[in-house]
Symmetry: C2
Subunit: 261 residues, 2 copies
């Protein structure tokens, strides 16, 4: 295990760049997983990381020691940093002191949409994106298509909110959603407060794709028009709309309910 003590060390400088710059993460095709839970999920569902980084204090933690041992057994490069150097890399307050550096998967968009999926158009908030990925994975949905304007799915914030969902999903980014919808072989559903059919009346017993849009502006008009069905989540109170991640959870789990019946 290598110990880095100088902040001028080239590997440390590279880690700092990955930790602080979204552009650097996209360019390098790498990102950081922060904390024991994400690291465990990654080992369980994907495999070994490219690099394992721990703080000096974290070496005393039994869970970290066990993860470190797994990495070393798999010949993963492991690095120990003095606590102040480590904390520059982590966005998690009172975190345990463990980071995995991983290669972000590059998935090729399938030629046709044939299984249940989520299509996200211009979704902005990392917390909402993470929550939607988590709900999708829990609902057994396996594919997520993100438009170019959607938040970067592999940012530390989205990874944290996703709680490991990323490793159960195929996530396609920078996707032309109109083309995906045009080539869909399954119904593509969009929620709309103007729809006459309730999501609870829609037939969700087969695979469907769910379209969700921007937090403020909703779905782009062209995509709304391309959707094969519009459904409304019925309200009993005079609220105009739901948070997009809440709406997505309701839709995905209505699909779960109908599938399990």
């Amino acid at each position: 295990m290598k110990s880095i003590t100088s902040s001028a060390n080239p590997m440390y400088k590279e880690l700092k760049l990955l930790a602080t710059s979204s552009q650097a993460r996209r360019k390098a095709g790498r990102t950081l997983l922060d904390g024991v839970h994400l690291a465990q999920s990654y080992l369980q569902h994907v495999g070994l990381p490219a690099l394992c980084v721990v703080s000096e204090t974290a070496l005393l933690n039994a869970e970290v020691a066990s993860l470190l041992a797994q990495c070393e057994a798999g010949a993963v490069k492991c690095v120990v940093l003095p606590d102040p150097h480590y904390h520059v890399l982590s966005q998690v307050e009172h975190g345990v002191g463990l980071l995995f550096v991983i290669d972000t998967p590059k998935s090729v968009v399938p030629s046709a949409l044939t299984q249940s999926a989520v299509l996200l158009d211009n979704l902005q908030d990392p917390g909402n994106l993470g929550s939607i990925l988590r709900s999708a994975a829990a609902a057994g949905i396996k594919q997520v298509y993100c438009s170019g304007g959607t938040a970067f799915a592999w940012s530390p914030k989205v990874l944290r909110a996703g709680m490991g969902a990323h490793f159960l999903l195929e996530i396609f980014e920078g996707v032309d959603l109109a083309a995906v919808v045009a080539h869909a072989r399954i119904p593509v559903l969009a929620t709309s407060s103007y729809a006459t059919q309730s999501v609870f009346q829609a037939d969700l017993t087969g695979p469907v794709a769910w379209l969700f849009g921007h937090e403020g502006q909703g779905l782009a008009e062209d995509l709304l028009q391309l959707a094969s069905q519009h459904v409304v989540i019925p309200h009993l109170g005079p609220m105009e709309s739901l948070n997009v991640a809440a709406a997505a959870a309701i839709c995905f789990f209505e699909q779960v309910r109908q599938t399990q019946k």
Copy 2:
């Protein structure tokens, strides 16, 4: 309409304190509503604010001018600030330049729980709290009980995420939830991954109260034991858990579905 140009002005100093200090907001029993949407919802569902604050630039905006006219017609004190002074008060980037100062309502906890409600134990994240309030209001739930450890419901962040839900709900804060559950005359449901009954099988056709807990640790064990029923949100994928606001939305709208059937 009063124009304040000095940052040493006592009213401006008070506004700055309200904008930046949660403690000051709690002490004063006042908070800030930021933006046209919250202001409109407040006028529609509650009434006139204590004070209306606008930036110089916002005076040119037609929606702001209309809200300002309503305030002035109701003899509400209105204040114009130079843009740089205004921006110190607002957390909204590229906001329109309108703030309402309002008195936070003080609700007295009813002696018994008799209508559908949400009980929040130690919920931390303002975005989650706002999303839950929004889902509850949309589902026709009218009461929300927050434990002392739950995020302050009237903070600007929670208000923004709530999108006006606050004005459709009775929100009780600093509540002893164990006492509320003990005096409940309706079923109190808690979600648990160990439950054998699915939320989709539970009878939600009458009023029920929903218990949700801390984002990481879940519901306190004593509250979980006090709940009259435990229900599970069935998962089709190997995700451990859902975001708490997503779980709440699924529960509230399963209740809507069963009520509407």
